[in-house]
């Protein structure tokens, strides 16, 4: 029973508050400045269970007086395009464009304007509403027809323009005067932009360097394109020594043109790798590298000190497979100094690792500094005394080099 009383009391309080303060409790947002005085009186615009209706708007705003007089009947000083625009609209369409509850700052229609809602005649004559918005440039002077040929009804940009519609003698600069860059390249160009540019966009642009006078220096036009590195600071103004006219890259550079005393590092400082191999190398890159490219590179291992271990320089290059994990630091046991491949190691050639001989490398090669040395006495079967007695029974006395007779790993061979 207590609960019922409590609920009824709460209901009465809520309804009472709603009726007393509808602007706070129900209002989805403040009305615009012009409607502020009717903020508490919701029924000025809303009809019960029918919402806001255009007929409520027209009870104050006379459609035929919009833009001419205000709601009090006083004449407006400044008349604008609103007059003709509103005359072309049906009287019951106010709500289609205008809304409220969007705050005091909003003054006009805040709903997205739908051109589909206006009459066909009015839609065909864009200028009747947008004549003030039309830019006063030459491009738009040409446009005498409907804006819709270039612009959509959603927004002015992006706009399409069919250059084919222009008269054949039309000068590009008549419309695009403001678009011409003020650099030297363009200052010497003529008024016919189409020599380099297409009609769909300024970029990409083509440029025929053959049209340039032979005395013209590259830098006259490409001044801003020169990189500020040492390589280019010592280069002359004639870019064509290294670069072609179709693009900066690829570029050729003739190292023969350099003075004989020029240090490679002077220009290639940033190109030197920070690995151990290069840290111990001198400034003369040409010892290993050619001038046409960093790779392939040659390296004379004879220049390396005899005490130097292969791994000191080639640490990162050691494969992590089983074969190499048990190999020592002396790569030259298998590899040459010319290249990693081909490598001189074919176990089948010396001794086949068949199913009876699947042992780790160190079982036979117990001297890791020299893999050429081996022993067969590393397993139980092949003890020195066993081998000696078996071979003596056969009358074989020279049996110290096992591989000489047992290359295939079998007893018979």
């Amino acid at each position: 029973m207590k609960l019922v009383i409590l609920v009824i009391a709460f209901f009465a309080i809520v309804v009472g508050l709603v009726l007393a303060f509808p602007d706070y409790l129900l209002n989805p947002g403040p009305l615009m400045q012009g409607h502020a005085h009717i903020e508490k009186n919701c029924l000025s615009c809303h009809r019960p269970f029918r919402g806001a209706l255009a007929m409520q708007c027209t009870s104050c705003h006379k459609p035929e007086e919009i833009g001419i007089k205000n709601v009090k009947g006083m004449a407006l000083l400044r008349k604008d395009s609103k007059i003709s625009f509103h005359r072309g609209l049906p009287a019951n369409s106010c709500i289609g464009c205008h809304t409220d509850h969007k705050g005091r700052d909003s003054t006009r229609a805040v709903r997205a304007f739908k051109h589909e809602g206006i009459s066909f005649d009015l839609r065909a004559n864009c200028n009747s509403c947008h004549d003030v918005q039309k830019p006063k440039d030459k491009l738009h002077d040409y446009a005498t027809r409907s804006c819709g040929e270039c612009h959509s009804t959603r927004a002015w940009k992006p706009a399409s323009f069919d250059h084919k519609s222009l008269a054949s003698g039309t000068n590009c600069l008549d419309c695009h005067k403001g678009d011409v860059p003020r650099d030297r390249l363009h200052s010497s160009a003529g008024a016919n932009c189409s020599t380099c540019h297409g009609t769909s966009g300024w970029k990409p642009a083509s440029f025929d360097h053959k049209t340039v006078a032979s005395a013209q220096r590259c830098l006259d036009c490409h001044k801003g394109d020169v990189p500020r590195d040492r390589l280019h600071s010592s280069a002359g103004a004639n870019c064509s020594t290294c670069h072609g006219t179709s693009g900066w890259k690829p570029a050729s550079f003739d190292h023969k043109s350099l003075a004989s005393g020029t240090n490679c590092i002077d220009c290639h400082k940033g190109d030197v790798p920070r690995d151990r191999l290069h840290s111990s190398a001198g400034a003369n890159c040409s010892t290993c590298h050619g001038t046409s490219g960093w790779k392939p590179a040659s390296f004379d291992h004879k220049t390396v000190a005899s005490a130097q271990r292969c791994i000191d320089c080639h640490k990162g290059e050691v494969p992590k497979d089983r074969l190499h994990s048990s190999a020592g630091a002396n790569c030259s046991t298998c590899h040459g100094t010319m290249a990693w491949k081909p490598a001189s190691f074919d176990h089948d050639r010396y001794f086949r690792l068949d199913r009876d001989h699947r042992a780790s490398c160190s079982t036979c090669h117990n001297d890791s500094s020299d893999f050429k040395k081996y022993t067969c006495y590393g397993c139980h079967e092949h003890t020195a005394s066993n081998i000696a007695s078996e071979h003596r029974e056969e009358g074989i006395r020279n049996y110290q080099n096992c591989m000489r007779c047992h290359k295939s790993g079998s007893d018979e061979d």
Binding site: L6, V7, F10, Y24, L25, L26, P48, I95
Partner: protein, 171 residues
């Protein structure tokens, strides 16, 4: 909030209005549990109705939150949203108490050596004997008025929307 942002980005924020309707329907569904308890619905396992109550309540809360769209407009719908959150939180407290009751009932059954499968009548008997009952009764004294207040705020909100809105703008 992310979902509301997505609705605005896709320019289908009107869908938010219909989420309000869907949320209200889920809230109404959650009342089936009360109907079962008051024997308005005579048959059906109470456990399932309680599950429906909890799940429908959750879904309704989420839908209404997206519907409210974190827009600071009129006070009444905001008050309703805040109260809805309080009611949902209160529902969780209730859920916790019921879980405690179940554990206690299970323990008592074990102590009494009852190993038979769940029996509604026995469960009810144990329920009334449980220590949790007092706490659950006190909780109901808070939960039920809050639910009643929420119904009133929702009702006033729905009626005010129907009273002032233009149905043509709902499409």
């Amino acid at each position: 909030m992310a979902l509301d942002y997505l609705l605005h980005q896709l320019q289908i924020e009107l869908a938010g209005r219909y989420l309000g309707v869907a949320g209200t329907i889920f809230f109404l569904l959650s009342f089936l549990y009360s109907a079962r308890k008051k024997q308005i619905i005579p048959k059906g396992p109470l456990k399932r109705f309680l599950q429906l109550h909890c799940h429908a309540g959750w879904i309704a809360t989420l839908l209404i939150l997206v519907h409210s769209g974190i827009h600071f407009n009129a006070f009444l719908p905001w008050a309703a949203t805040v109260l809805m959150m309080i009611v949902t939180a209160s529902g969780h407290v209730g859920q916790h108490l019921v879980r405690r009751f179940r554990n206690e009932a299970k323990l008592k059954k074990q102590q009494l050596g009852i190993l038979t499968p769940p029996d509604d009548a026995l469960d009810r008997q144990l329920f009334w004997n449980a220590v949790t009952l007092k706490a659950l009764n006190q909780w109901r004294m808070v939960h039920m008025p809050l639910v009643a207040f929420l119904i009133i705020l929702t009702l006033v909100h729905v009626v005010s929307i129907l009273f002032f809105s233009n149905r043509a703008n709902w499409m």
